[in-house]
């Protein structure tokens, strides 16, 4: 069932409000919703909530035989599915356009941009490597599940600890977390995704982090994935409104400011959670 398009009064009101630079939830045009993170009892489980949009990311690892053409690298797989739990507009089984965009973006931002050092996942060359499986569940869709999912994914990677492994000759010994402290993944950089929504009226500026109604009534979306070192990992603009290069550069600058703030927030929250988990061994 295709999502019902918004009614005529909603459309007219939203466009009028945006012309006056007013958003329905009182945010500024370039305001991101503050994300809140809840960590589960096990490492690598995180729930990211941005306003009413909620996404759970879960990471687990197991040892497998590596691919024959890449015997020194680990394997990372990302599994994301939007179930009807997120919103009654999604159908089970049939991937909607948004789901396809989500899968592709997660793949580009978290896997192909080399966030995790795959060679560090190798245990015994040609025989045993770590396979990391990231599962993304979308719990509630109040707009912009793409940014929320990317955020949840990268925080799950940072939160996760893999068990320590000792290799003696050809023998592999896996130590349980109670014997030896598990080690964190080797992360090269931390990309964050920021989405902008454009509207048909030429005088309306683009908005950051669109809500559900803004996303439905937008005429185009652009997502920029950047890390705190101002390196662009992914720039995704599939159709929509033609945009001038100066405008794109301006939005990239806006993204770099937002990403610095996000990075600071994520680091602080991860540190806070880790302090709570420290166990002293006497």
């Amino acid at each position: 069932m295709r999502p019902p398009s918004p009614s005529i009064p909603e459309k007219k009101f939203l466009y009028d409000a945006l012309k006056q630079s007013l958003r329905l939830d009182g945010r500024d045009m370039l305001d991101f919703r503050t994300p809140t993170f809840t960590f589960g009892p096990e490492l690598g489980w995180v729930e990211c909530a941005m306003g009413k949009t909620r996404v759970i990311a879960q990471l687990d690892a197991k040892m497998v035989k590596p691919l024959p053409e890449r015997p020194f690298e680990g394997i990372i797989t990302i599994h994301s599915e939007i179930s009807p739990m997120a919103s009654p507009d999604y159908e089970p089984g049939r991937p909607s356009e948004e789901e396809v965009t989500l899968t592709r973006m997660l793949d580009k931002v978290l896997r192909r941009s080399d966030t995790i050092d795959k060679e560090s996942l190798c245990i015994l060359a040609g025989q045993r490597v770590w396979q990391l499986r990231l599962t993304i569940h979308v719990l509630a869709d109040a707009g912009n599940i793409l940014d929320c999912s990317c955020l949840a994914g990268i925080v799950a990677f940072k939160h996760f600890r893999k068990p320590e492994v000792e290799v003696i000759g050809d023998e592999v010994i896996v130590h349980s977390p109670s014997e030896r402290a598990p080690i964190s993944l080797a992360i090269h950089h931390t990309p964050f995704c920021v989405t902008f929504a454009f509207f048909p009226d030429a005088l309306t500026r683009p908005v950051v982090d669109p809500s559900l109604l803004e996303q439905r009534l937008s005429s185009g979306l652009m997502s920029i994935a950047m890390n705190a070192q101002r390196e662009i990992c992914v720039l995704h603009k599939a159709g929509g409104v033609p945009t001038a290069p100066e405008e794109v550069l301006r939005l990239i600058n806006v993204t770099s400011i937002l990403v610095k703030d996000l990075d600071r927030r994520v680091e602080a929250r991860l540190l806070e959670d880790w302090e709570g988990r420290k166990v002293e061994v006497r």
Binding site: P6, S7, P9, F13, A17, L22, L24
Partner: protein, 234 residues
């Protein structure tokens, strides 16, 4: 005041028993007397009854609307179906509205509605597995009485309990907002509220206040709403 879950039997017995929302009397052919037919709850919530125990109902909160007759709802037209319209009221089935179900409508003189228009209508027929039917006039007087197309303004979604609170004349929110600026509102029992004011920022204020007072989103009380309003620029 006990909490009931769907399927639980309810001790409702009276000569003139009237069952309100959330209760169903199971009819059984083997039962000889109507008095012993069991009454079960179909929704989860708090069980209430009137003083003389003749009226019983279940009060709960949910976001999904189950249509019941004589309730006023706000719907969006999604398409035409023959002589009438297909309207989305947020229930499991889309509702149907006959093209002539308006005040003073004849075959030659029909109201001009488009796909995407907002309507304030009354549910005239609603059964468990059938499509509900709507009408845009009052049942007894056959006059419009506020039903019909809603032009301009904005419609927002809230929980069902919030829409019941807004319809209660003793609730504080709408009179409080009305004392600050002129507003027009239509509340649908399906969790949709239409508001219209002269200025965009006033409408945004109402939307934010309703979302804040909604029991699902925090349930702000009167003093906090006043503080919230003083911080906004009206």
């Amino acid at each position: 005041m006990s909490i009931v879950l769907p399927g639980e039997q309810v001790p409702a017995q009276h000569v003139n028993l009237k069952l309100g929302p959330g209760l169903l009397q199971l009819s059984s052919e083997t039962q000889q007397q109507a008095k012993s037919a069991p009454v079960i709850a179909t929704r989860s919530g708090v069980l209430n009854h009137s003083a003389n125990k003749s009226k019983w109902w279940v009060e709960g909160n949910s976001r999904r609307y189950v249509p019941a007759p004589q309730e006023s709802v706000i719907g969006v037209i999604t398409g035409r179906s023959g002589e009438g319209w297909r309207v989305d009221i947020g229930s499991a089935h889309p509702a149907s509205l006959d093209g002539l179900a308006f005040e003073g409508a004849t075959k030659r003189n029909k109201p001009s509605l488009k796909v995407g228009s907002l309507l304030y209508a009354r549910v005239s027929l609603a059964h468990k597995d059938m499509e509900p039917e709507l009408e845009c006039f009052d049942a007894q007087t056959h006059k419009a009485d506020g039903f019909g197309e809603l032009k301009d303004g904005f419609v927002l979604q809230c929980s069902l309990q919030m829409s019941r609170l807004l319809l209660d004349p003793k609730h504080f929110l709408l009179p409080l907002l009305g004392s600050r600026f002129p507003l027009e509102a239509a509340v649908g029992m399906n969790g949709k509220v239409w508001v219209s004011t002269k200025e965009t920022k006033h409408t945004i204020t109402i939307v934010r206040c309703i979302e804040a007072v909604d029991p699902d989103g925090g349930g702000m009380d009167e003093t906090n709403v006043k503080k919230f309003l003083s911080k906004l620029d009206i």
